[in-house]
Symmetry: C2
Subunit: 435 residues, 2 copies
């Protein structure tokens, strides 16, 4: 494709969708990229960069390949939210250098957006929206939409302002369905659904889910319209949250882009080694009971069965708890959750314990041994189940994300409690099943 | 609110957003609902029902409370995709009864949609889109958009047809930015991004993510436009897939709405009891080595440490594998994944094994014992890591969803392999560390 003349190339290239242009660009080597920067205008580069994932680690490299002025023009031509996402990954000096080369108004807007905290509505929003005064008509609004069609990220909602405050919304659908001389104030929806600029991104996502909006306005505490969050960014938020919950449960960052096994290993080891030391306390607890094991080596047979089953129950309970806590629903308070899990744990424990009592009793022709194993398993499951819901609740209470309590952590912790329960019970009954 | 006159109530109620109307409705008791069915028109009820979650178990109850004609009119007034979602949860006789009371064209459309398989583009799509012939102009298209504004689910993309085949798309943005006499054929984007009606919903979601579209056209193999999938339905798909992956990893359905502990317990027990029997094979393996344990009861001390750590590593590897397999990326073939995980496993195994060798050596003043534990842990981790990536790959190959391989399953399975490895190694070296 790069062997044709620039004019022919542009003609073919620019009919592609921006995302496809971005995929094409990402497959180029450096000399090819350098040619592309010359063939395309900064605006065209900006359209393409709007569709590159802002987490892409190569972006700083790409920017450094352009002349500083081209890079600045390109960033200025992008939707402000995407430009900000890129600038957030750069060092302060580069950011300042690019901003200095942008038109004053654009630079000021971007500088403003850079101040908002990560994972809030402010950090997600774009300032490329369509807003109009409430004393205007449908005709004037349509004119404004036409004029903004190329710059605004979303033209399907028009935000209505009065003295700088957001007082209503009109959809493009309603504008088209009404006559040009209808007053916006009569037509607009006055029950504006909006989010504060400091809102957590999960809450913004929930509102978009509930109302099925393509965009939500973002306001400050004076009801001033600061920007809009569009649904494509909300999808990214939902994906990120899902990946982080999933990673949390597994105790590993599943986004490890690394094909390189070394980088994968380095990412997984810290958690494994930490848990290894927690596991060592279980080992030293068993060590404490070594005399008991020498006396009745049959006890060793059931260690992994009891710890494993309790760990499984704890992981299930953990996952349910993390999920319930994610919906900050009034009806699922932490206390209620714990109570539910306690009762669930008792039921699961009793059924599982009874099952294993029979199995072991028949297998070993020793129902007292069976009862000891069953009682230990039942108690271990109840405790693991409670821990699985208590620990994420505690984390939330302490201000952490409950999703970081991992399945491996709960399993390893429940190994400790299970072994303690198992040997305490076994010690108590030892004279009944060892001759 | 229900004490005021119907006119006053309607005036207050209908200014609310449909989602808020739905929330209000869901909080009513039966006598209040019966009054509401009389106060609102079927179209207004339909708007409200469009914003009730179609999985809501009460919907059949609500429908049975209405007169059959009101229910049919309401279903006919809803967006077709939502009406179909509701009808899919009803028995065949009710479906036939409602369809018989609808206008012929609506009933035919819905009957068609009901045939598409679950979790495909066909099952997600709505037929309420705006389409126009390619020999028309911008002005005619805008006229059509105005006329469709009340019925179409999404008017922001206009689909251009020639001899019934989808040949282009024009955004409302482009219509507004051009003069009325411009031919659509000149303006339209001819590189249409669409999905086949049989496409898996995950692939549809991925396309919406990539291109940041608000809707995607759905076509048959003759390029005929059958419907569109809108982004709000894609968000539901993304949420459902995330919940099902998360549930799979934990080995529990985290959507268990049940506050009732009994229902929770019944949902979790089958998996736990299955794994209990898998765990029993580990127990009988240890039983097989009971003589060894009597001879060296110190071996019992490290059972849970080795099985636990290998299980943790296997869970991490499983989560990474499920995630990678979800992106059917050419560069991550199953073989490559297994190779990467093998090398990662060796690295993790060596580091963890070396750590525990030193810890046990120092603790027990016995470096041969330390070496046995370290070697066993290293081998157990390598095997668990491989199992964690092999099992989801195998499931995918066999046509199952790799996400159903749960963390508890991998941990329980790796208990078995870990114990086997541990005792084989210990038996080999027993004379070196037991006097």
């Amino acid at each position: 494709l790069m062997t044709v003349t620039p004019a022919v190339f542009r003609q073919q290239f620019l009919t592609r969708h921006h995302w496809e242009q971005a995929q094409f660009f990402l497959a180029l080597d450096q000399p090819q990229r350098l040619r592309l920067y010359e063939v395309l205008t900064p605006q065209e580069l900006g359209d393409l960069f709007d569709d590159i994932d802002d987490d892409d680690a190569q972006i700083p490299q790409f920017l450094s390949e352009m002349t500083p002025q081209v890079a600045a023009d390109m960033l200025g031509a992008m939707y402000t939210d995407n430009a900000v996402d890129i600038l957030e990954h750069l060092d302060k000096i580069s950011v300042r250098r690019f901003l200095a080369r942008m038109p004053h108004a654009t630079a000021a807007e971007i500088r403003n957006l850079l101040h908002y905290e990560d994972e809030t509505a402010g950090a997600l929003m774009t300032t490329d929206f369509v807003a109009i005064e409430s004393d205007q008509t449908v005709g004037a609004a349509l004119e404004l939409v036409r004029a903004s069609a190329n710059d605004a990220e979303l033209i399907y909602y028009i935000y209505v302002l009065a003295q700088n405050r957001l007082v209503g919304t009109v959809s493009l659908r309603e504008l088209l369905a009404n006559d040009a001389d209808v007053a916006l104030a009569k037509l607009m929806n006055q029950r504006v659904i909006s989010v504060p600029v400091t809102a957590d991104q999960e809450d913004v996502a929930q509102k978009v889910r509930d109302y099925n909006f393509f965009a939500l306005p973002v306001i400050d505490d004076q009801q001033q319209l600061l920007g809009i969050v569009t649904v494509d960014d909300i999808i990214d938020v939902i994906d990120d949250e899902a990946i982080s919950d999933y990673s949390g449960l597994a105790g590993v960052d599943v986004e490890e882009v690394a094909e390189q096994p070394l980088r994968s290993a380095l990412k997984r080891l810290p958690w494994l080694i930490t848990l290894l030391f927690l596991g060592m306390s279980t080992a030293s607890l068993i060590n404490h009971y070594e005399a008991l094991v020498s006396e009745a080596s049959v006890l060793a047979v059931f260690i992994s069965l009891i710890t494993g089953t309790a760990g499984n129950a704890g992981t299930q309970s953990l996952a349910v708890a993390v999920r319930r806590l994610a919906f900050k629903d009034q009806t699922h308070t932490a206390m209620k959750l714990l109570l539910t899990e306690l009762i669930t744990g008792v039921m699961i424990g009793v059924v599982t314990g009874a099952t294993i009592t029979v199995v072991v009793g028949v297998w070993k022709h020793n129902f007292i041994l069976g009862f000891v194993i069953g009682l230990a398993m039942c108690s271990a499951i109840i405790v693991a189940n409670l821990a699985g819901s208590f620990i994420p609740s505690l984390m939330e209470r302490l201000g952490f994300d409950p999703a970081v309590a991992s399945g491996p952590f709960i399993s390893t912790l429940s190994d400790l409690t299970s072994v303690l329960i198992y040997f305490s019970i076994a010690q108590h009954f030892i004279h009944f099943f060892v001759s």
